[in-house]
Structure formats: structure tokens, C-alpha cells
């Protein structure tokens, strides 16, 4: 089963994304901020990262940049999610190593669509 790490400081957002991804057949783990995400991503090989931008202690940009700097690791694709819709934020996300950028609040079909492009559909 493909494993996705959901990174967001809001519990409800994590639950929402978990519900969407689990019902689409993916396995989900969580982290509340970029630092916890980094600890997890350095230890576990995830297939995809779903990363909020604005989080305390270490934000999404810092997490992703730091993870991408570990050239010895297999790097999972990342979807960055933010409240901001500006071009400057998108650009920053891609520079940090995101593959896609979505604006909050997300919609289930759109999220699944992005994930499927990056991962393929899970086996039935």
C-alpha cells in the first residue's frame, strides 16, 4: 500500500485529508509540523508527502528544502498546500522541492487527482 505523510498543524485538516486518502486506498501517517515530518521522513520511506506551508517550529518550505538536501535519500514527491494563492508562494514551493501546489481548502476530487498523477492509482 502506498504510504502518504500528511503534515499540518491543524488536527481537523489532517483528519480531513486522512479520510480522503484512506478511502482512496492509501495508507496515511501524520506529523504536526515540519520538524516532526523531517524526523519521520528521514526514518521512513514515504511514497508521497502532503505538506502544509504555515506551521510552527519548522514550516513546509523549511521541511521540504531540508529533506531535499539529503541527496542520499530517495525523495518522495510532495504536494504543498497553502492558504496563499499568490504566484510568489507557488514559486517558493517549487523552489523548496514541491511537485504540486494546492490552495486551501482542498477538494477531495482535486486532491485525489493530484495524488494519482504522482503515484498512480492504488491497486484495487
Amino acid at each position: 500500500m502506498k504510504r502518504i505523510l500528511i503534515v499540518d498543524d491543524a488536527a481537523t485538516v489532517r483528519m480531513y485529508h486522512r479520510a480522503i486518502l484512506e478511502s482512496a486506498g492509501y495508507a496515511v501517517e501524520e506529523a504536526v509540523n515540519g520538524m516532526e515530518a523531517l524526523e519521520k521522513a528521514l526514518t521512513t520511506q514515504y511514497d508521497l508527502l502532503l505538506v502544509d506551508v504555515n506551521m510552527p517550529k519548522m514550516d513546509g518550505y523549511a521541511f521540504l528544502s531540508e529533506l531535499r538536501s539529503h541527496s542520499d535519500l530517495a525523495q518522495p514527491p510532495a504536494v504543498m498546500i497553502s492558504t496563499e494563492a499568490e504566484l510568489v508562494d507557488r514559486t517558493k514551493a517549487y523552489a523548496a522541492g514541491a511537485n504540486f501546489y494546492m490552495v486551501k481548502p482542498t477538494r477531495p476530487d482535486s486532491l485525489i487527482g493530484h495524488v494519482r498523477v504522482l503515484l498512480g492509482s492504488p491497486p484495487q
Partner: protein, 278 residues
């Protein structure tokens, strides 16, 4: 009197709150474990229901209830070689890295707190003597501290139960311990290797002289602090470490709940934290 009960939603509320605060996540299969302890604390605090208790917990100004709850929810035993993988990390990864960048023959300094009855500090000493080849070429100083002078006295005395020494390899037991009527007595070599001091981590005057450490072990202490005290402790540790120095927390603790001052370092045996700027 009806027994207090914890609904599924109560449990989820608690689970989320506890995870947010400590990083420890209790899954559904821990319901019995969690519910029992919540009910115990509800009784202790005179809370008629979970909502009342949860409100007390969330808004408890001095963090006392959270501390009691964390105490109940976590295993607090101390013994030799507890969370062994961190000692492996010290010997296999941390010390070699320190040595590689050390430009002189200065002493390597390790601070271990809380000392409790000394098992952790003596374990570090044992690992250095027995498992780190570098001990032949480098001086290492181990300081271990606690706020409780009674427990420090125990640590200095170095007398341990069979339970506490359960994970000590047989050969080390023979070499460094003497079996007495009252337990296993640590020999003078080991006792002489650790300096035990009284320190209140939250007192700036107490901690001021604690500087220039290469490694800090602070396992299963910060988890009992409130958010502000933890943050201040992290700042204290930052100053206590040399640039590039390392700090190790308990296995269920994470800097992600405490401070952004440290960098995450993943070694083969463990995740540790490093003060930047080496």
C-alpha cells in the same frame, strides 16, 4: 455512583490533544490503557465528566495536571542501558564525529540529566570504557545532575537492585559491580568516573556555569514540563552546548514540540538534535 465513562469522541479529543502536546499518539488499541488512567485523573481532580477534566487539563495554569497525566501515561522506570540505541549512537556516531572535528586534545564533556539514581550516567561511563575505542585517546568528563539531593545521594552511593541491572551484560556485572547483601555495588572506578551535581534546570543561576558540553542527555524530563518551561530548557541547553554539540531526548520525545533551535540529525541508531554552527 455511576462509573465515569470515556466516549469514543472523548478519547479522540484526548488523543489529539496529547499527541499535539507530547508527540505521543495512543491508537484505538490502547483504549483500555488510556481510559483507565483518564478515569483515575478525573477522580483525583474531582471532575464529574470528561469535559470538565479536559477543560482543567487544557487550562491548568501551572501544568501540574498535565505532569500528573504524563506521568501516568508513560513508563518511568530507570535502569541501566535503558533506551540502549542512544548509547549505541553515542559510541558509533556522535563521539566519532566530535573527535573528527576536534582540533586539540581538550576534554570531551557530557552532561546527563536528570541523574535520578545514576543508572544513565554510569551506563554512559560503561559504554565509553567498554565500547568506545576512542577512550584510549581522549579524555571524557561526565557530569550528571538532578534537582533532588536525596536521589543524588543514591546515585553517588551506586548501589543497585537486580531489576535495575537487568540489562547489564554479565561480563560488565562481574567486572564493575560487586554483589552485596543489599544489591549490586558499583566499584570505585565507575563511581569515580561521574560527577553528580545538584541543579535546578529552571533556575538561571544554577545552570549558568554549565557550558561547553559536547553531548547532553536529557531523557524523559522535558515531557513533564509545560510549554514555556520546555522552551526555556531548550534555550538553556543551547547555551550549555558547544556549537555543533548534540542533545538526545527520550525515545517518545521530540524537539518538534519544544524548539526550533536545533537541527535534526539522523544517525543509524537514533535521531538526535544538534546545535548549529560547527
Amino acid at each position: 455512583m455511576t462509573a465515569a465513562s470515556i466516549s469514543q469522541d472523548d478519547f479522540l479529543k484526548f488523543q489529539e490533544y496529547f499527541y499535539r502536546k507530547t508527540g505521543i499518539r495512543f491508537e484505538d488499541n490502547k483504549r483500555y490503557f488510556v481510559d483507565k488512567r483518564l478515569v483515575e485523573r478525573m477522580g483525583h481532580t474531582g471532575s464529574a465528566n470528561f469535559r470538565e477534566y479536559f477543560s482543567k487539563l487544557r487550562f491548568d495554569t501551572d501544568g501540574v495536571e498535565m505532569q500528573a497525566l504524563v506521568n501516568l501515561m508513560t513508563v518511568n522506570e530507570t535502569y541501566f542501558f535503558r533506551e540502549q540505541y542512544q548509547f549505541d549512537c553515542l559510541v558509533n556516531s556522535i563521539l566519532p564525529e566530535i573527535v573528527a572535528r576536534k582540533k586539540d586534545n581538550r576534554t570531551i564533556r557530557i552532561w546527563a540529566l536528570p541523574s535520578s539514581s545514576g543508572e544513565e550516567a554510569y551506563t554512559i561511563a560503561l559504554c565509553l570504557i567498554e565500547r568506545w575505542p576512542g577512550i584510549a585517546d581522549h579524555d571524557v568528563e561526565i557530569i550528571s545532575s538532578d534537582i533532588d539531593t536525596n536521589i543524588l545521594a543514591l546515585a553517588k552511593a551506586g548501589l543497585y537492585s537486580a531489576r535495575s541491572t537487568m540489562h547489564v551484560p554479565e561480563s560488565y556485572l562481574r567486572k564493575y559491580f560487586r554483589k552485596t547483601a543489599n544489591g549490586f555495588q558499583i566499584d570505585d572506578t565507575l563511581r569515580g568516573a561521574v560527577e553528580f551535581t545538584r541543579v535546578n534546570l529552571q533556575d538561571p543561576t544554577d545552570v549558568r556555569p554549565y557550558r561547553h558540553f559536547d553531548v547532553i542527555f536529557c531523557r524523559n524530563l522535558l515531557i513533564y514540563f509545560d510549554d514555556v518551561s520546555r522552551k526555556q530548557a531548550a534555550e538553556t541547553f543551547y547555551d550549555a552546548l558547544r556549537p555543533g554539540g548534540f542533545i538526545l531526548l527520550g525515545h517518545s520525545e521530540s524537539m518538534s514540540r519544544i524548539s526550533s533551535l536545533f537541527q535534526v540529525r539522523k544517525f543509524d541508531d537514533a535521531i538526535v538534535y544538534q546545535r548549529p554552527g560547527v
